[in-house]
């Protein structure tokens, strides 16, 4: 165009997606959208140095098979597979107060389903780095570190966000991938429903003497659930829950005393244990955004729903949001719809919000049922476990659910 005024009028929207949040879901969505030819800018409030720290910090994810397939489809899996630990078995056990020995109640074996392992354990650092590198390599993705959003405006025709630097960024759709305390959601006037559990998750990685054989353990103990998730080598990631005050006290202990509290909880089947990374705490609570969408705006991951990490479903649910939103946007783009029109976003909302509410409610119920020493509830859940253990079809159903293979799968999570 010769006339600069025309150029200004006809200048296209700078970005199709303005993604607020540079954690895992934000870059994953940018990569998924780029596959459809949609451009993104990813705004991360944290400075780049913090995200780029290399060492193992003790955090890991239990990736469902559906999430792993998504990484395959995004072209990331080949670079991750060497550092991923397949989970071949999940053992669910119920512990009694004061019992050192653990009663093994339920065993899920991936050999019972044809799809392969139920999932993989992956350390946070590898996943984060792979997503960041791929986003930086994509010509359709611009990333901005240390960029805090201070304001956002949406209208029938477009969306803009303002950064703390004063810069304004224009696009078609704002995506809030900015976590539980999502500023994107609150600026859009989206309220949340939720409650705390009065519990805190303690997270750490341990090295152990004996091999874990690719087995994940979920122990339901009266103070709260404890998960032992296998990492490559003789290492495992531990997630355990305690009442808030107890958790604070335990976390304040020196490493040796911390281990002394942890040790009796799962017995000695892995031999001697020692810490293999930093220790983390996360207050547990359930929070659900009252809407996942608003005018030219969608929420994904913890911004839409914070869950109890009891079954490792937080990241998996977030990636499911990302895959579903990418699927809806891809379809809209292919058939010529406005990607951010309310009828397009309504499809994402109806796909994900019901799934999420059901999952949040069931993990909540699960936790309430198992974090309890009431003899009646105890008898009921022992019976329930025995029933699930005895019925192969019911067990296979649970395995598929844990692998993330149930429900209406977005394209990105298909084989």
């Amino acid at each position: 165009m010769d006339n600069p005024e025309d150029a200004a009028i006809f200048r296209p929207m700078e970005h199709d997606l303005i993604i607020v949040g540079g954690g895992l879901n934000g870059p994953a969505l940018a990569l998924a959208a780029a596959r459809s030819g949609l451009s993104s800018i990813v705004l991360d409030a944290l400075p780049g140095e913090i995200r780029q720290q290399d060492g193992f910090d003790g955090r890991g994810y239990a990736m469902a098979l559906s999430s792993q397939r998504m990484l395959v489809n995004l072209g990331l899996w080949d670079g991750l597979v060497d550092n991923a630990q397949p989970m071949h078995h999940i053992k669910v056990s119920d512990g009694r107060t004061g019992d050192a020995q653990v009663f093994l109640g339920l065993h899920f074996d991936s050999a019972e389903i044809e799809e392969g392992p139920m999932g993989y354990m992956l350390e946070d650092r590898y996943l984060r780095r792979a997503l960041k590198a791929a986003a930086e390599a994509s010509p359709l993705i611009e990333t901005r570190d240390g960029a805090r959003v201070t304001a956002q405006v949406t209208s029938a025709t477009g969306a803009t966000v303002t950064l703390d630097s004063g810069e304004t960024i224009a696009g078609r759709l704002i995506v809030g991938a900015d976590g539980r305390a999502s500023g994107t959601a609150s600026r859009a006037g989206i309220r949340r429903t939720g409650w705390g559990y009065g519990q805190t998750a303690l997270v750490c990685a341990i090295a152990h003497e004996k091999p874990h054989e690719g087995t994940a353990h979920q122990l339901f103990l009266p103070p709260g659930p404890l998960a032992i998730l296998p990492l490559p080598g003789n290492r495992s990631s531990i997630v355990w829950s305690e009442r808030d005050d107890r958790a604070r006290a335990i976390n304040a202990l020196p490493d040796e005393d911390y281990l002394a509290v942890l040790r009796p909880r799962f017995g000695d089947f892995l031999g001697e244990i020692s810490l293999a990374g930093k220790r983390f705490t996360y207050p547990l609570g359930l929070t659900l955004a009252n809407s996942f969408v608003a005018e030219r705006l969608a929420l994904v991951g913890d911004a839409a729903h914070g869950m109890h990490p009891i079954a490792g479903q937080g990241l998996n649910a977030g990636l499911r949001d990302v895959a579903a939103l990418a699927h809806v946007l891809d379809h809209a783009h292919r058939v010529g719809e406005d990607i951010a029109a309310s009828n397009t976003l309504a499809r994402y909302q109806s796909w994900r919000r019901w799934d999420t509410a059901t999952l949040a409610a069931s993990t909540d119920l699960f936790n309430r049922l198992f974090s309890n020493d009431n003899p009646v509830l105890r008898a009921a859940r022992d019976l329930g476990m025995a029933a699930v253990g005895a019925l192969p079809s019911l067990r296979r159903g649970f395995i598929r659910e844990a692998a993330g293979l149930t429900g209406d799968l977005p394209d990105l999570m298909r084989d």
């Binding site: 030819g37 029938a156 891809d330 292919r334 058939v335 010529g336 719809e337 406005d338 309310s342 009828n343």
Partner: protein, 249 residues
């Protein structure tokens, strides 16, 4: 456009456009069906004119007519895909509404208050004619389809959807959609005017079109979604036909 545009009028039309485009509003059934309708339409056009969906403006250079355009639910996607779009509606009040929404969407679409017959008489020619949920409302389907054929360039593509005539379609489209779900105003449809796929094929052939494909739109009440079916044409269905001649044929 005249120069005596009233700002109040524009606001009114924008409000009506918002109603047309509200996925949970008065036109909810259309919005629910729109993804599968668009799937069929875009796939057929891309196949016929050898265009690659998912690329930038794949329908560039194609002239498309949408008959019964309403608020522009089909015109806007076609324009966004790069086509040169004319939308016509026999209801005059739909035109400024559709124009208001196109303006908000930043799209250039030629909306006109006219009929297919008048357009044909004026000698207008298109690569594609979209004829969605109209044929069951006209008084003389053969004359109407003949006008549609005249509007096509040789080798042009005619996409036509309507509702089958059988006890199930009566139950679904009239009792279900109009009376039970109240999706559509009572009296929207007259069952005796519904057309079976065989009758439509016959009418199109007599109008000089060559039918090439037909598919069903099936509503699943469990997943609450529409999908495309090769076999089930028992209620809503869509057809593709070509005007003989030309290289695209």
């Amino acid at each position: 456009m005249t120069t005596t545009v009233d700002a109040g009028e524009i606001a009114k039309f924008e409000a009506m456009a918002a109603e047309w485009w509200d996925p949970n509003g008065k036109f909810k059934p259309l919005h629910m069906m729109n993804p599968v309708r668009l799937d069929y339409i875009t796939t057929q056009i891309a196949g016929e004119y050898d265009r690659q969906l998912g690329t930038e403006r794949p329908f560039e250079g194609l002239r498309i007519l949408d008959i019964g355009c309403g608020g522009g639910l089909l015109c806007e996607p076609m324009a966004r895909l790069g086509a040169d779009v004319v939308g016509v509606d026999a209801a005059a009040r739909n035109i400024p509404v559709a124009e208001a929404h196109a303006r908000q969407s930043g799209l250039d679409i030629d909306y006109r208050h006219t009929t297919a017959e008048a357009m044909a008489e004026a000698g207008e020619q298109f690569d594609v004619v979209l004829n969605m949920e109209v044929v069951e409302h006209v008084s003389d389907p053969l004359a109407y389809l003949t006008a549609c054929r005249q509007l096509l360039k040789p080798g042009g593509l005619h996409l036509c959807s309507t509702i089958n005539r059988n006890p199930k379609s009566f139950a679904m489209a009239i009792v279900g959609a109009e009376y039970v779900m109240r999706w559509l105003p009572k009296g929207t449809h007259e069952w005796s005017k519904f057309i079976t796929p065989e009758e439509l094929y016959d009418l199109m052939t007599r109008a000089g079109l060559k039918p090439v494909d037909r598919k069903g739109y099936v509503f699943n009440p469990v997943s609450w979604k529409w999908s495309i079916s090769d076999r089930d044409l028992s209620v809503n269905y869509v057809t593709a036909a070509l005007k003989p001649g030309g290289s695209a044929c």
